[in-house]
């Protein structure tokens, strides 16, 4: 096993998470379709969730569940459970927000007949 490869992996998880976040944000900022914007936002949230869970990871740690095997075993390192709990909350909240966003998309489509964000700007200045 090459340790430098694992080194790369260290950067890889964070890098992927940030990259996915930014890709999602880019989609939300640039794409013209409202649905694409919502997709972008949800991609961004995925990246964020990965980032948070990765922050709580400990090398060689196990899942924070005290099964019988764990209690008898020798390895006592566990990954940080707090970020996992937070991500759990964040995922559910993110789902709620996405649902509301999609309902707004449907509403806007009902009124405008299009999802082009450039045409949906009656409110300005």
């Amino acid at each position: 096993m090459d340790s430098s490869l694992f080194q790369l992996l260290d950067y890889g998880v964070y890098g992927t998470a940030i990259l996915v976040m930014l890709i999602g944000l880019y989609g939300a900022l640039v794409k013209k379709s409202l649905l694409k914007v919502v997709i972008g936002l949800s991609v961004m949230e995925s990246g964020l969730n990965l980032l948070i869970v990765a922050l709580g990871y400990l090398k060689g740690g196990t899942a924070p569940i005290f099964s019988d095997g764990f209690l008898n075993g020798t390895n006592k390192v566990m990954v940080d459970p707090v970020p996992q709990a937070l991500v759990l909350t964040a995922i559910v909240i993110g789902f709620g927000v996405t649902a509301v966003a999609l309902s707004l998309v449907i509403r806007l489509y009902r009124h405008h007949g299009t999802l082009n964000i450039d045409e949906i700007k009656n409110l300005k200045w």
């Binding site: 940030i18 990259l19 900022l29 940080d80 789902f95 927000v97 509301v100 999609l102």
Partner: protein
């Protein structure tokens, strides 16, 4: 032009974020004396819950979970409010695809199993991975299956909201009971039992079951509401 600007901006932002997180480091302990050690210790020793994530979500940070359930509840309410139509405007619900008899029969067969799985997941939330959210979502997917397979399958809105309300009241009520018994909101007032037993963890399973029902009802409500919306040009 705009794309290039946005790209450059995001690249700059990304560089800053990357530098920050690369410096933080992956997989190393970042801090000493964090609260997690306390959580890991207390979960086993006092709460007698095996799944630390569950104990955090339901007990240590139970307030967050209450808020989170509320967010879902509000999302359902918001959905209903945003997509509100007067009664005469409500049309038939949309169908994603017309399903063959294999699908319908399969769904019917699968539905009880899915529900059972969901119930299992949230009842064992404090012992194994999974819990109220996961179980609730699984139950909701069960209903989703039925909604997709059968054009005429419908869920009673009244029952959904009754289940949802009762589950919510159970959660808040258990919290208030703790408030009355032990002095603080959401405090455990039941015996915690033996580690790795089904009946352990004090109020945690009760709350998680309530959460499970609530999430199931809410998510079913979300799907149901959205399905009933047909785009009108």
């Amino acid at each position: 032009m705009k794309k290039v600007i946005v790209f450059l901006l995001l690249a700059t932002l990304g560089v800053y974020l990357a530098i920050t997180f690369f410096n933080i480091g992956f997989g190393d302990p970042h801090f000493v004396n964090g609260v997690k050690d306390f959580y890991l210790k207390e979960t086993v020793e006092n709460l007698h819950v095996s799944n630390t994530v569950t104990s955090i979500v339901v007990n240590f940070r139970g307030f967050d979970t209450l808020g989170e359930v509320t967010v879902l509840f509000l999302a359902v309410t918001a959905l209903g409010s945003i997509l509100y139509k007067k009664r005469h405007e409500v049309g038939a619900r949309s169908v994603l695809f017309s399903s063959s008899s294999v699908v319908t029969a399969g769904s019917k067969l699968l539905f009880p199993a899915v529900i059972l799985l969901g119930v299992y997941v949230f009842i064992h939330g404090h012992l194994s991975p999974g819990g109220g959210f996961q179980g609730g979502v699984i139950i909701a997917t069960g209903f989703l299956l039925m909604l997709l397979a059968y054009e005429n399958y419908s869920v009673s809105h009244t029952w959904l909201s009754i289940v949802e309300s009762l589950a919510g009241i159970t959660f808040a009520g258990v919290g208030l009971l703790g408030f009355m018994n032990g002095g603080t909101f959401l405090q455990n007032f039941l015996p915690t039992g033996v580690l790795n037993n089904l009946f352990s963890g004090g109020v945690i399973p009760i709350i998680y079951i309530a959460v499970g029902f609530k999430v199931a009802a809410e998510l079913t409500g979300v799907i149901y509401t959205v399905l009933h919306e047909k785009g009108v040009k």
